[in-house]
């Protein structure tokens, strides 16, 4: 995936965040989101390892050996941050206090099912916080390339891989499109400035209803 694609996805994803929200950023593309947020936007960033109020990546030479995010990156915290144990950290997620979770995907289905944790026989590093984040965030936004490296659709009629959670996805943001998950299927809300509707439809296995006011992003 090109840096441009990642950047494009992260920049668009940043626009989904509203002032005052509690958000969690999964590994990969979601970690790029903060650079596209207005610097004065009041937010609470949650990290699964017990941080409520995570900040930015630590400045060169300023890494604190006791302060990493759930991906292992040395970070800072913002004023008003607090630390908690892993139980309370996930109480926040499962208890309904996480407004938005951003996660990557291997597959997303038209029902909003997500598969992103295991490829049986190939990739099985464990579960981590993904299931809880996917299943319990008030809003789940998937940031992913539209297709695999081989050009195969990731947005499918049904997931073929074991699920992370069923009917959990609210919005899918790719380098080509912004797609919302509605009760009766997927709605194409926006397409990228440099693409064509036909390309998006071709790279999407699941049926897409083209939104009434299709926008460019």
């Amino acid at each position: 995936m090109s840096v441009d694609a990642k950047t494009k996805i992260a920049r668009r994803a940043a626009r989904e965040i509203q002032a005052g929200q509690v958000i969690n950023l999964g590994i990969g593309i979601p970690t790029l989101i903060p650079s596209f947020l207005p610097p004065d936007l009041p937010l609470t960033m949650h990290s699964e390892n017990g941080i409520v109020g995570a900040g930015t990546i630590s400045a060169p030479g300023k890494a604190d050996r006791n302060l990493i995010d759930a991906g292992g990156t040395y970070i800072t915290v913002v004023p008003g941050a607090s630390f908690c144990d892993s139980a309370l950290s996930f109480s926040l997620v499962r208890g309904g206090r996480l407004d938005v979770s951003f996660l990557g995907a291997l597959e997303v289905s038209q029902q909003g099912d997500l598969a992103n944790w295991i490829i049986p026989g190939k990739f099985a590093p464990g579960i981590g916080g993904a299931m809880e984040l996917a299943q319990k965030a008030r809003r789940l936004i998937i940031t992913t390339t539209h297709a695999t490296r081989k050009g195969e659709p990731k947005i499918l009629r049904s997931c073929t891989l074991p699920l992370t959670a069923r009917a959990c996805v609210d919005l899918i943001i790719t380098e080509l499109a912004v797609i919302s998950v509605q009760p009766d299927g997927l709605v194409l809300e926006e397409i990228a400035a440099e693409t064509e509707l036909e390309i998006v439809l071709q790279l999407t296995e699941a049926p897409l209803v083209v939104g009434a006011a299709l926008k460019r992003f």
């Binding site: 005052g20 409520v52 008003g80 941050a81 607090s82 630390f83 309370l88 109480s91 208890g95 206090r97």
Partner: protein, 231 residues
């Protein structure tokens, strides 16, 4: 900056008849008397109240109960409140008792988004009657559903404007648990400080759990020492 501070009256405004309300405190310490007064003044009724005990007659949540605002009380022990025991015995309110630590765990489980906990407390007693039982390995357990409420009223020694809370001494008790276990969490605090003034390792309840913060301008007499408990 996030600022969740609000008046007690405004904070309590969303509470409606028939809702469930968790109230922190174990005896006087940690009981949010100011918020209870605001709830009393608002006049809602048919409440389900969840509190470790019912304070003492004429004090705290007992005033809500005595005023007929409470339909049902979920609690652990009423030994210091003969008035409420009388209302229970007369059928004026329904009371459901749980072992104190199990009540705490049920509330905590509600906050943690669990469906239930399974414990063996009371397994050889009448508490097992009418409870869902579950075989766990070679032991029988009682399934206790998680407990959440519409509203939680908690008391903190300090809060910042983002809702981070610090409790003091034995006033902690049920407050941090209830602060996770309701759809609307209202915290009153004896001192409200600016964001960044509380040490991140010393915060007991992260602000993300708290919706509204009410500064206690002046401590009501209820917060004081109960002289009949001084030995």
């Amino acid at each position: 900056m996030i600022d969740k501070t609000i008046s007690a009256q405004q904070a309590i405004a969303p509470v409606t008849d028939g809702q469930s309300v968790m109230v922190g405190g174990f005896g006087v310490p940690g009981t949010p008397f100011l918020l209870i007064e605001a709830l009393l003044a608002k006049g809602v009724s048919e409440l389900t109240l969840i509190k470790n005990e019912a304070n003492e007659a004429g004090l705290g949540v007992s005033k809500l109960i005595e005023a007929g605002r409470v339909r049902r009380l979920i609690t652990s022990h009423l030994g210091l409140n003969a008035t409420v025991i009388g209302l229970m015995n007369s059928g004026a309110i329904g009371v459901e008792f749980f072992p104190q630590g199990i009540l705490a765990e049920k509330i905590r489980a509600g906050g943690a988004g669990l469906l239930a906990i399974v414990s063996d407390i009371g397994i050889d007693t009448i508490l097992r009657n009418d409870k869902q039982l579950l075989r766990c390995g070679d032991r029988d357990g009682i399934v206790e559903p998680a407990l959440r409420a519409d509203i939680a009223l908690v008391h903190a020694a300090k809060a910042d404007r983002a809702g981070n809370l610090v409790y003091e001494k034995s006033a902690r008790n049920f407050n941090p648990l209830m602060a996770t276990a309701a759809d609307l969490v209202i915290a009153e605090a004896e001192q409200v400080v600016e964001i960044g003034e509380l040490a991140p390792d010393e915060i007991h309840t992260p602000g993300a759990f708290v919706d509204r913060v009410v500064a206690i301008e002046e401590l009501l007499p209820a917060y004081g020492v109960l002289h009949h408990h001084v030995r």
